[in-house]
Symmetry: C2
Subunit: 205 residues, 2 copies
């Protein structure tokens, strides 16, 4: 792409560094900002700068939080004996929106991924093991996505905490509610048969 | 969406104001910036702010330009007697990349669109008419997209400049090179038959 202006080119290149945004989309976004009042760009850049510079993490679960202890960790109605291990804040939001979980979270901040240079030391794994070692935890639920990296991370953590004799579980894999059997992949379908549950129990959901 | 942090919520809301970006994508982009060094966010916000605050337009064709007169308008090898009328900088870039046009451009900055509140006075139409009235122009090529708004804008401009007895043309509509006839819409196919060209001429393209 040949740009008629360095300022425009620079803006497009910086926007196009964001994941999933190509040069054409970046150009469209830059021209959109140009049609809006200058305020719009100021609000956007101010929000991004403040977020990046001032973001804080909960000292207990490491979720993004504006306070030292996040709202979930500081809620006395939640059960601190059950810890759900997730990758990032999006997973916390997804599980919270189900209203089905009353324990606390532990946000790892990613998954073990040698290809992307993410090792256990880059994640909040030690802090989780400490939490378990302190004796306050009775159950750890693994809720990472079931990819190679997710399974590796689960297994790494499991190996570190199994000696503490607490119960561990992973979220159920199976056919999504409302999905047709014929379109399910065979691994998922196979697991959903192996891990079948008593019919009476399925009525409670 | 329930956010665990006002800073995060604010950043996501501002990103999601951009066209074609929903809240989920905005959240993904915000978390991406969080994983990058602070520099990445600084470069992005600086580029956007500088672009929005310091953008300048060519005083002749009104394309985005860093100089008073843009590179195309100040190029003495280009023919100032042929003016190609386009909507915005993206169209200039698209036509320039064909290497087929040696005249100058006139960037309107949009199309007449009553629904979006864009009237002729919001576009660079008067300056185009002045250019034609000055006698320096021999041909005006309309290269707006062939939508209702584009056709309206073309016609509005045509009515203003027809008295100056210059030649006017629009870019050819027809079947795209490499496309199959059977998938073309009937209006395009119909126009491509009506506006057929001598076979020898087609060999030159």
């Amino acid at each position: 792409m040949d740009f008629s202006s360095k300022l425009l080119e620079n803006a497009v290149n910086e926007i196009a560094r964001l994941p999933g945004i190509g040069k054409r989309t970046a150009l469209r976004l830059a021209l959109h900002l140009l049609k809006q009042p200058k305020d719009a760009t100021q609000f956007l850049t101010k929000a991004l700068t403040e977020f990046r510079d001032e973001v804080k993490y909960c000292s207990s679960c490491f979720n993004i939080s504006d306070t030292e202890l996040c709202e979930i960790c500081s809620n006395s109605k939640r059960n601190p004996e059950i810890i759900c291990v997730v990758e990032d804040v999006r997973d916390v939001m997804a599980i919270e929106s189900t209203l089905q979980f009353k324990g606390l979270y532990h946000v790892l901040g990613g998954k073990i991924s040698p290809i992307e240079g993410v090792g256990p030391q880059n994640l909040q794994i030690d802090s989780l093991v400490e939490k378990v070692a302190s004796g306050q935890v009775k159950e750890v639920i693994f809720a990472l996505s079931s990819t190679m990296e997710g399974d590796t991370t689960n297994f790494y953590i499991f190996k570190q905490i199994e000696k503490y004799n607490i119960s561990t579980s992973t979220i159920a894999r199976g056919i999504a509610v409302g999905d047709e059997l014929e379109y399910a992949d065979e691994i998922t379908l196979g697991r959903s048969i192996l891990n079948r549950i008593p019919f009476e129990q399925s009525l409670k959901g």
